[in-house]
């Protein structure tokens, strides 16, 4: 059935790990689990977690994946890696030896990235698996509790899932305690030092409203509701915490998709090429590798884009062309230094901003498309005038840039306990029917009216959901 057994994997794993050491990657201990396609579909539906709390949406996702797989619309990934310590990866039982070796090498690339990239510092890798298991256990407890049960748990989970992603994006920035926040607001209200005090009119000090909740706009919607909705019972608060933590765990992966896949692809290629594979494996490897990192016509393949940029960083530092030396000066770092530095301190947005050059964009023939009627039409191509704009559009569409920024401005708007939210509009409108239903979920969690300030077709508007239902009105 398969042309390998666990012994082969161990043999190659040892060789790969020698190379990993040699290349200077630093990994968590690694565990592999071999599973069949059913197991893989199951892991995919539950974001790879060996234990995860139950919710119908994962059943839906399983059915969708299975249908797509059964009808050959999409295949299965060769691997799945979980950011944990030890890192856990799944290998497909039915893959060939070459694919397994490639996958093992690829997994070490991810493993190194998880361990060293700054965005993952806030996830506590050694606790990951246990945390998910404990969460699942607690939720199962609520489901089985005769006084709670699935009919009460599910609506809360539904609502929490709807807004869970509305949370702080950059977890490396410390969240201020209420005391620190108060101090910051007071400091901000102080008049600035004016060197021409004697000739200027005296600045008037207006004391900030310290009773306002929240003091500064709050991005963590679920946590805020958990802390300020007094009507929630303990188990409801716990559900909100669990859903929030789950989402928080996945944000670094959303934020570094391109870098991470590019990095793993870069290193699996380096490792495989240095292994001196037998010829048949080497040939199969070349085919598989090119399948993985090929560009998608009219789309963007994160593997392709990431690998391209990593390669370019290395080349520009090790063997820059004359024009590049003229344009950017002589490189101060070696290619390897530059690679490892970027792998540690960047996330997709900063990574692309720093390293996606005009030349690279042109080489990859990147374009911007816009909907025109029922069709998507290319509006700009990466030429001298437009490449910057295309790059900006791309930066908006990766990582957490695909999620609208919505912050809580006031939890007692008009002194009616109305929750006032504001959408930081930067050119893209919200999808209104989705916004309506999501507001309804927020209202269910907050239990008082919820208002969202946003911009629709260039006009400011208030969307509100209360016990009377959904309504919109323009904002003067």
């Amino acid at each position: 059935m398969t042309d390998w057994d666990v012994k082969d994997l161990e043999y190659w794993d040892e060789k790969i790990r020698e190379k990993v050491e040699e290349f200077g990657l630093s990994c968590y201990p690694q565990e592999f689990e071999i599973c069949d396609h059913v197991g893989m579909l199951g892991y995919m539906a539950y974001s790879g977690m060996p234990s995860h709390y139950p919710h119908w949406s994962y059943g839906k996702s399983y059915e969708k994946l299975k249908t797509m797989y059964d009808y050959g619309v999409s295949g299965l990934p060769y691997e799945m890696v979980i950011n944990s310590n030890p890192a856990l990866a799944y290998l497909m039982r039915d893959n060939s030896l070459c694919l397994q070796v490639l996958t093992v090498a690829h997994v070490y690339g991810h493993n190194d990235f998880f361990k060293n990239n700054f965005t993952f510092k806030s996830t506590r890798a050694e606790l990951t698996l246990n945390l998910f298991k404990i969460h699942a256990g607690r939720i199962r407890g609520y489901l089985e509790d005769p006084s709670i049960g699935v009919d009460k748990v599910e609506p809360i989970l539904d609502a929490a899932h709807a807004v869970a992603i509305q949370c702080r994006r950059n977890l490396a920035i410390k969240k201020l305690s209420p005391e620190e926040e108060r101090r910051q607001v007071l400091a901000a209200a102080q008049p600035t030092l004016d060197p021409f005090q004697s000739v200027h009119k005296r600045q008037v000090y207006t004391s900030p409203d310290l009773h306002k909740v929240p003091l500064s706009p709050e991005e963590d919607l679920l946590l805020f509701i958990r802390d300020y909705n007094l009507y929630l019972s303990e188990w409801e608060k716990d559900l909100l915490t669990i859903v929030h933590e789950r989402e928080r765990y996945f944000i670094p992966q959303i934020e570094t998709k391109i870098m991470n896949e590019g990095w793993a692809s870069y290193w699996h290629r380096e490792i495989m090429n240095s292994l001196r594979l037998p010829q048949d494996l080497q040939l199969e490897f070349l085919v598989r590798h090119n399948q993985v990192v090929r560009p998608f016509p009219n789309g963007l393949n994160p593997y392709h884009l990431g690998l391209k940029i990593w390669d370019d960083i290395k080349r520009r530092h090790d063997e820059p062309t004359l024009e590049e030396v003229e344009k950017y000066g002589k490189p101060t770092k070696t290619g390897r230094q530059a690679l490892f530095e970027a792998r540690e301190i960047d996330r997709d947005v900063s990574f692309l901003r720093r390293f996606l050059t005009e030349e690279l964009m042109r080489e990859m023939d990147m374009f911007q498309y816009e909907p025109k009627g029922a069709e998507l039409v290319i509006s700009k191509v990466s030429d001298k005038n437009d490449w910057r704009e295309i790059k900006e559009t791309l930066l908006k569409n990766i990582g957490m840039g695909t999620i609208p920024v919505i912050k809580i401005e006031d939890a007692d708007y008009n002194h009616t306990r109305t929750l006032y939210l504001k959408h930081d509009h930067e050119g893209r409108d919200l999808k209104l029917d989705y916004a309506e239903r999501t507001l309804e979920f927020l209202w269910k969690l907050w239990r008082y009216e919820v208002i969202l300030e946003t911009t629709v077709n260039g006009k400011k508007a208030l969307l509100s959901y209360s016990d009377k239902g959904f309504s919109t009105k323009p904002l003067k």
Partner: protein
Amino acid sequence: MPTTATIFRPYSSSDSLRSDRSAGDRQRHRKKVRESIRENIADMIAEESIIGKDKDKIIKVPIRGVKEYRFIYGENAPGVGQGDGNSQPGQVIGKSQGEGRGQGQDKAGNQPGVDYYETDVTLEELIEIMFEDLELPDMERKILREVMSERIAKPHGTRKVGIRAWLKKRNTMLMHIRGNVASLFSRLKNAGYPEQASQEELDVFCKEADEDIRRLLEQFYVHDKDIPGMFRLRRAIHKNEQRYRYMEPDIRPESNAVVFLIMDTSGSMDTMKKYLARSFFFLLYQFVCTKYQNVKVVFIAYHTEAKEVTEEEFFHKGESGGTFISSGQNKALEIIQDRYHPTLWNLYAFLCSDGDNFESDNPATVKATQELCKVCNLVGYGEIKPLGSRYYESSMLNILRRIEADNYKQILIERKEDIWPSFKAFLAKERPK
């Protein structure tokens, strides 16, 4: 050399079984899909595509309830893609709104995909879902109107004669063992008769033996298959021991119903009105079908006079001229008298018209409706008035309202969204107080 060893956990099929942990969540999801279908039935009924299709037809049902809502950006925002090296502004790369927009491809980052979701149900399932929460007392079968009908037989004991295929081996063997045949056989053996005998020997035996033994000899010496002309002493199964399956025709009461669909086909019934009537009839017919095993439909089209027509003619043939509603009803009464006696059949009569009637016919209509009420389980009148037309056209609703029979109901349908709610009201109105 690295110090800690990598762990490879080999595949085990028990793990694979365990990993079907999504079963519970899948079931929960399916339940939600079903709920969602039920909530959206009104919209689906309004979709023309469903009406009049056969039962195995698979319908795509858009599911709204199981979408997962988030704050997401609308579709008018630009995106970035990668071309083959020759991209030019103005080139069309796909269709907007979900499909084609990088389908199956991971667009930059994790753009939340368009969560459009469809599921397949058969029409039969849909009807089942539709009616499962409609429990209606006056649609219950009446014992009196159950008809004795002959169905294919059910097994009923055994017989000694029958066809080979129906031989009951077990019973036959039982009879064989139980009967005195065995002891008779040993009697022969004990008497010293040989295993094999020719015809002549057998004749000698028969001559010598007395009456009892002779009968046994005839019974137990059978033709030897291998040696022609020889007989062999065999403990054969006698004809009397053979048992065959016996099927008895089963006569049991079966519920029968006739649905009279009576429609105005006069000039004033335009396509829209006919479509509304058709939808309404469709629901009624499906509903009656869920309650009875045997449902017959009679289509009656009328203008100034009525005639029985085929389904095709009923819905598609336009007629012209004035309207006598009573003509349709009288035709139904006539057919009832001819073919469907009320003691044998559950009768349902549904009439759809746009309310246009010659005034001189009104008393006759009331009278005919009352007649129908006497013989039918349920008489319904649906008046179809596309929105706005009610005010200047005449209406039968006021006239027929005076009928006091319990089993008479009337509704007004103004637009297609009304069909499901009014249908529900139509059947639910007379729940026991």
